[in-house]
Amino acid sequence: MRLNDWQLAFETYLLGEQTAADTALGASLMGGPTLDVSTGLAIYHNAYQARLQEVLRGDYPVIWHWLGDDEFEQLAAAYIRQCPSVHYSLRWLGEGFESFIRQHLVPEQSAALGELAALEWAFTLAFDAPEGAPLTIQDMAALKPEDWPTLRVSPSPSVQWLECAFNSVALWRAVKDETGFPGSAALGAPQVLVIWRAGLVCHYRSLEPAEAAALNGLFQGDWDFAELCSELAVICGEDAPLQAVTWLKQWVQDGWLQPRIIESSY
C-alpha cells in the first residue's frame, strides 16, 4: 500500500466505531512477539477515544456531572463521530458541542443542556482570551468634558455575554462548590450573564434587565454616552446621567470596556 493509502485506511479505522480493523489494514501491519496486530490497533483506537473524551470532560464538567459517566460518554462519542477534530489544538475540540447538542437532542432535552454548554464554553473563552487594553478609571478621569457625549465602547476581549432561560449558573455553581446539584429549572424571566477574566481569574455576574439593556445598547446598539443617557432618561428621569456614570464606573472597574476604534473617514 502506498503511504497515503495506508494513512487513509488508518485514519478511517481510528475514526470508526469498531475496534476491529479491515483486512487490508490488518494485513499491512505486523505485531510483535506477544502483541498481535489487532491488540496493537485497539490500543490506538482506545487512546483516540479516551483522549478526546477526557478533553470534553475537562471543558464540560457540569454537563458531565449532570449526565453521569455513561450518558456523557455516549453524547461525547456521538459528538466526536459527527464533528471529528479539525484544529491542531485540542483546546478547540469542544467548540461545536453546544450546537451539536441543540441539533442532536430533541428541544425538550437540548434547551437547558445547550445553554449549559454555552456557559461552560464561555468560561473557556474568557480563560485564554487576549488581554486587550480595557479602559481604566484613570482613562475616564482624563477624558475631556467635550469628549464624553461621543464616547463609544466595545467589550473587552474576555467579555462573554449569555442570555440564560434556565438556572445554568446555579448548576455550574453547585458543581464548582461541590454542593447538592439543584436540578435544571427554567427561570421566571431570562437573565443576562456576563463572564469575564480579571487578571488570571474568571468571574461572572448576572445583570438586572435595565443594566443589561444599557450595556447591550453600548455593545450592540452603537450608542455613545449621550444616547445612553437619553435612553436611560425614559426610566430614570433626571437621574439618568448619574445612573449612566454609576454603571459606567462599575463596568470600567470590572475591565469590561475598551475604547471603540472609529475608522477614519479620510
Binding site: M1, R2, L3, N4, W6, Q7, L8, F10, E11, L14, L15, A27, S28, L29, M30, G31, G32, P33, T34, L35, V37, T39, G40, L41, I43, Y44, A47, Y48, R51, L52, P84, S85, V86, H87, Y88, S89, L90, R91, F127, D128, A129, P130, E131, P157, S158, R197, L200
Partner: protein, 281 residues
Amino acid sequence: MSASLSCLGYGLGLRSAYYQQILEQSPAVDWFEVVSENFMVQGGKALYYLDAIAERYPVVMHGVSLSIGGPHALDPQYLQQLKLLAERVEPAWISDHLCWSRGNAHQLHDLLPLPYTEESLYYVAGRVRQVQDVLQRPLVLENVSSYVRSAGDEFSEWEFLDALSRLSDCELLLDINNVYVSSRNHGFDPWTFIQGLPAKKVRQLHLAGHSDHGDYVIDTHDQPVSDPVWALYQQTLEHLGPVATLLERDDHFPPFEELLTELQKARALGDSVLTRRLRCA
C-alpha cells in the same frame, strides 16, 4: 559524546499543576520543556506563567501537532504560531515527533508511527527542510512509542532516523522510554536501536514512565521511570556523554518534590558517568 551539541543539563516538562510552585520556590531544575500547543493561545494563565518561567529558566519547545509525516500539506497557520511562540520564549531548540498526527481530513491527536520505507524517508525529509526553512533552525525529532509496525518496512526505525538526519540535517530527541516500550512491543534489542543512531545528532534525551501489561507495554507517562529504562539511560550516557535530559510526567501528578528527586537521580547518574569518563580520558 555529542561533541557538537551543547548540553542544557537536567530539565522537567512544564505542567500547569506546578506553575505556582516553580515561581515561588525557584527549584533546582536546569531547564523546562514546554508543550508548544499549550501556549498557542492569546492570553491568560498559560502565557503569564510561561513568560515568568522563561525569564528565570532556559526553555525548550516540544510540539505534538506538526504531523511531519502526515498525508496533508504542512499547516502554515500552525507553523506561524510556532514561530511566534519561538520569538516569544527564545527556546534553546524546537522539537516534535517522527510521526503523523493528522490524517487526510481530521486531526487524530496521537503520535502515529510511519512505515519506514524509502517513500516515507524522502517525503518526510522534504517536509523537515520546509519546516526548518520557516523556523530558521534545525528541527529536533523524537522517536515515538508504537504498538503496530508496517509489514512493508524497508528500514529499522533507527536506520530511518539516521538516514533522515543525514538527508534533512534535523537533530534527534532520543526518548529512552519510547525505545524500551517499542522494543518490548516489537521484539528488538533497545541497545541496538540506540547504538544505531548518529551520536552527534542527539540533541536531547527523554525519560518517562510506562505501564507494563505483561504481553505489551504502553507509554503512559503516569508513573516513575522504570528500572530497565534507568539502566538503558545509564548505558546511553556512557555511550553518548552528557546530553540534555528531560523528565516527563503527564498524568497522576505527584508532589513536585517527588519529580525533583527523580530528576536528581538522573543528574547523579549523569555525574557519575561523566566522572568515570574523565578518569578514563
